[in-house]
Amino acid sequence: MDLHLNEEQKLLKESAARFLRDQYAFDRRKLLIADDAPSGVWSKLVDLGWLGAWLPEEAGGLGGSAVEFAILMEEAGRHLYVGPYLSASIASALLRNADSRGARERLAASAEGERHLTVAHLEPGSRGMMDSPTVRGIAVGSSYRLTGRKRLVYSGCFADETIVSAVTPDGPSFFAVPMGGTGVATRHYRTVDNDWVSDVEFDLAEAELLVGAPGYASALDDAIYVALLGVGAEAIGLCEAVLTQTKDYLADRKQFGRSLIEFQALQHRISDLFVETETLRWSLLDALSQSSSARTLRARSIFGLKIQAGSIATMVAGQCLHLHGGMGMTDEMPVSHYYRRARMIEAQFGNTDYFTAAYTTLMD
């Protein structure tokens, strides 16, 4: 056991931090998120190797592990990154253990930045990633046709292809569907935290089978692990950043002739938030330690991380918002964006209630 980052990991962390600090500073970000779709920064992230950083070499990656992914997501959280990175990573996770040629090709193409993938798994009425799909797939010759509705397809306005879960007579499976194809109708909108999502309606849309029914459950588990690890690590960066900014803000503001940070009651609150943030880092270590464990062990630890991330980020960002007073409520202050992102981390992929219920089914 050795909890230090190795040299490559340290370099990765520093380079990610530097890149986001330069290219994604809050003022620049404000302009970027006003666009209709994610753009510039994304292709640079791909060039920097973010997609392959945590994938083994045989999957077109750089030989990293879940640790590398967590490092990148933590920095993303610190700088309030919104855009395709997480959804494209979940797509990679879905495909990484599949043995179909289509899956292997796409994994490589995605890591190279040649094809931008996203995931269409959640549906109207879903409460989280473990819910079964109702989109139907029927075989037509060597390909399939999908019919049904998906929602919360991140970067759907932007991706080349989406990995879709659908049920065939053989059971649930994952398919690839080109985003602009026939039989694919999209409705794009924004999220509370300024991300880009789409509703997608398939009407006999042509699809390629990537992961058949026998591999479905395990591919979904891999996707869930990466999705929750992603927001878990992101939440740590978010909490640390919002807490630092809040301390700075309180140090700057004066009331009754004293800097606000000098008030004991405020110091106590800041300390409590620091403790919660630490706790979240401990849960991340736990989840990372189970990245290759048996199904139940891994699921328990990653559900635990999601539950902690959602509730702690909401609490930390909520308290920081409160500590900012009226100013915090404005769009121009970063804290209001951290808060919205924290709320979305809580809701994304299934909220605390959802994963707590799931966790309880796995208790000894």
């Binding site: 919360l152 999220t191 509370v192 009226g326 121009e332 979305m344 909220n351 209630d353």
Partner: protein, 356 residues
């Protein structure tokens, strides 16, 4: 001790209910029910209806257009209005400046402004906060300089709710330098259509637009629109702020939010059953229901009896009321689940109607 509503109060509640079911326009209620800020036209249309019935300012003295209701009747009225999704009347005219005008204003001010406040024809905004002054009103920077029959006003106001559609602003401006910071402040009524007024929207966390920054640049205010005496504005502002501190602790809002949360949870499915029947969720809802009922008794207690320490009791109500409303809204978010993620800018959008 008698803990029952009287027969009169019950009959009164029925009367209010009947009125609302006959007179509240369905589209106004629908838009408001969805949690968006009501548009100006809805505010005005609904107040006109209330005004016609004589109920637009129940809390005012009868001679100025009030109803003479008891505190508990006013409580019932507010409760029923929110339960029916009637948007609350804009408070700036009715709750804030109106009482200042009928208490300290000149006869001509009363004649000129009160009728349009009653009817909702004129909507007001409040020009108190300024950049950098925080909650410390006395450190005010806006100045009004007497020039013949007018004051010339210059300054900047911030956090000004509804300034983007208000017709008038009541504001504080410094007319002279007193020994104490509170001295030399005057209370002026300013026309928002004056070309020297510029309103800059402040976008907020809720992606909505309710508050603004207001730039006041050489705006002329007739000396007739000075309320009371020059330099005494601070005392009128204090009078106004004391009126603002009501004891309702958002209880009607919380009841409404809870009902809405319940509806969402009854409709949402969780592992094949309504979310509202899932015991973890139901336990949380139960606790909030219990606190909500307690809060309502907290308010009734303030309305009815001599509590040992009214200031402390009012603070307790306010703190608990805020916390409870937040907890109910948190539960609503949890009930929405993944549906909490999309942002829908328009209340009449199809997707929004799915939840109501």
């Amino acid at each position: 001790m008698n803990l029952d509503f009287s027969a009169e109060d019950i009959a009164f509640r029925d009367e209010i209910r009947a009125f609302l079911s006959e007179n509240l326009p369905k589209d106004i209620a629908r838009r408001f029910s969805r949690g968006y800020h009501p548009p100006k036209k809805d505010l005005q249309a609904w107040q006109a209806i209330l005004h016609k019935r004589g109920w637009s300012v129940p809390h005012w003295p009868v001679e100025h257009g009030g109803t003479g209701w008891s505190p508990i009747q006013q409580y019932i009225f507010d409760d029923e209005c929110l339960a029916a999704d009637a948007p609350p009347v804009s408070p700036f005219g009715t709750r804030l400046v109106g009482p200042v005008i009928y208490t300290f204003g000149s006869d001509s001010q009363k004649k000129k402004y009160l009728p349009a406040i009653l009817s909702g024809e004129t909507l007001w905004c409040q020009g108190f906060s300024e950049p950098g002054s925080g909650s410390d009103l006395a450190s005010l920077q806006t100045r009004a300089v007497r020039d013949g029959a007018d004051y010339v006003v210059n300054g900047r106001k911030i956090w000004t709710t509804d300034a983007h559609f208000a017709d008038m602003m009541f504001c504080l401006a410094r007319t002279s330098q007193g020994r104490k910071q509170q001295e030399g402040i005057s209370f002026l009524l300013l026309d928002m259509k004056d070309p020297g007024v510029t309103v800059r929207p402040i976008r907020t966390l809720d992606a909505g637009h309710t508050v603004n920054e207001v730039f006041i640049d050489n705006v002329k205010v007739s000396a007739d629109d000075l309320v009371g005496q020059e330099g005494k504005g601070w005392s009128y502002a204090k009078f106004l702020l004391d009126n603002e501190r009501t004891v309702n602790a958002f209880v009607h809002h919380s009841k409404r939010a809870y009902r809405r949360t319940k509806k969402i949870a009854q409709k949402a499915q969780f592992n094949g059953q309504p979310l509202f029947d899932v015991s973890g969720f139901r336990n949380r809802a139960a606790r909030l229901e219990i606190e909500l009922r307690a809060l309502e008794w907290g308010v009734l207690r303030m309305l009815h009896s001599d509590v040992p320490d009214p200031t402390a009791a009012a603070s307790a109500l306010k703190l608990k009321g805020c916390a409870l409303l937040q907890n109910i809204l948190d539960l609503a978010l949890d009930a929405l689940g993944l549906d909490a993620i999309p942002f829908y800018p328009d209340p009449e959008q199809e997707a929004v109607s799915n939840f109501f």
